[in-house]
Amino acid sequence: MNKKTIGLAALALVAGTAVQAADLPSNILYDANSEKKTLWPQPVVNSGVLKYNEHRQDLSRWPTLSYEDKRPTRKAETVELKGDLNGDAKRGKEIAMNTQRGNCWACHVLPGDPQGGTGGPTLVGFKHRGYPDSYVYQTIWDRRAINPGAIMPPYGTNGVLPEQDIRDLVAFLQSLD
């Protein structure tokens, strides 16, 4: 009885370790009991300890730089835009010009933004460039499917924005004069 219990306990321990190893690395700044999970360290003047704050979103869902992280990066997805675009340009603008959502303006110039980024091409006058909706949709979903070395975030493949948000963004871009 005793031996059996020990044996079972050993099994449980092994299983527990395996689950953790397959799940999240042990050396990330993370608190499973906090609301947002992801933590960031804040130095406090004249203090020998860091203050840990919650980040605005849980970033542990995606691969990290940890050597323990065995989760693969998702490869490029080719997608087809099905049916009518059915996008809301006004909603798309709210997603594009919001640092905590699409954050498109970090890298692109958008009309009315004095701080626009220059990491990617300007999006001013986009409607005159004649790109089909399906091509714009694929680019936002995962640009790597068009250009394997592309650095634009794969919003669809990585589950950052849902399909409707991407449809709204396409509608917004195709409205830019």
């Binding site: 044996g7 990330i28 992801t38 406090v44 020998g48 970033l59 730089l65 990491g119 950052v160």
Partner: protein, 294 residues
């Protein structure tokens, strides 16, 4: 009776074998640029801004004050001794002196860090280093935490007080060029790992450090312009003008968050390897503390 134990052993063996055989998970990479002879001057073949910041006393004021060209000075205009306006880095240096004197009453703290006869000059150049007793490569701030603990003081790696002590000690090496040897042994291994991590794409953005510092260097990212990763490591910890004293590892956690990547623990092997990589890319450039940057 025996069966569960055998099963448990089998399971353990399978996991151990699996871990050993486990391949690296798939990652997209940013292609390497030339790191064959790591040194600050290597930037000449990258952003070619080295010419504007290598001679700090000849920094062009027009470049420094230009919103478009400021990034090409690599923030060297806010380094000591060229910037002696009283910023938070100097306040931290004073705090560091006070803490150091308390910690080093017997000389054991400085000796623990590797100083000979309490001489702090040149100590900064010995880091990052491989510690045989710990069997790992460590940065100066990691050792400050270790050695302070032996004196009964908690100086968590990345905390204000830890960075303050690091700035105080580091400033004794002001003007002395960084020169770590990453051509052999554990530092070479750490350098190679750091180089790989720097170019590894992760997070929801699928960005690497190199996405911003190789591909997008000099581009405007909503008010921030990424600078070259060459010649940077010799002025950390630094005072960020948003009023925060940051060690290099604390900065990495902010870089990670800005790029949509889950940050790692301060002092982790991964961050230490990136620190070694960046320090080697600063070889030949002098220690310059205290410093400030946006």
């Amino acid at each position: 009776m025996r069966k569960p134990i055998i099963l448990a052993s089998l399971a353990l063996a399978a996991i151990a074998g699996g871990a050993a055989a486990a391949e690296k998970p798939y990652r997209d990479m940013i292609p390497y640029i030339d790191y064959s002879n790591p040194a600050a001057s290597g930037d000449a073949k990258h952003t070619n801004t080295y010419q504007y910041w290598k001679d700090r006393d000849k920094l062009d004021p027009a470049r420094v004050t230009s919103g478009q060209l400021n990034w090409t000075t690599n923030w060297k205009f806010m380094d000591a001794p060229y910037n002696d306006t009283l910023h938070g880095g100097y306040v931290a240096q004073d705090r560091g002196e006070e803490l150091f004197k308390r910690l080093n009453a017997t000389g054991a703290f400085a000796a623990c860090l590797g100083a000979r006869n309490n001489d702090l000059k040149g100590l900064r150049l010995q880091y990052p280093q491989f510690r045989e007793d710990m069997n790992r490569v460590v940065g100066m701030e990691a050792m400050i935490e270790q050695c302070a603990e032996k004196q009964g003081m908690k100086l968590e790696n990345g905390s204000y007080d830890n960075s303050a002590v690091s700035i105080y000690i580091g400033a004794f090496s002001n003007g002395m060029p960084i020169k770590i040897d990453v051509s052999k042994g554990p530092l070479k291994e750490s350098f190679e790992h750091g180089k790989e991590l720097f170019h590894t794409r992760v997070g929801w953005t699928n960005f690497a450090c190199a996405t911003c510092h190789v591909n997008l260097v000099g581009k405007s990212l909503r008010g921030q312009t990424p600078t070259t990763h060459f010649g940077d490591a010799s002025h950390w910890p630094t005072y960020r003008t948003k009023d925060e004293l940051q060690s290099l590892h604390v900065r990495f956690t902010e870089c990670n968050r800005n790029a949509g990547t889950q940050p790692l623990k301060i002092g982790s092997q991964e961050y230490t390897d990136i620190e070694v990589f960046l320090t080697a890319l600063t070889n030949g450039y002098p220690v310059s503390l205290p410093s400030a940057r946006d």
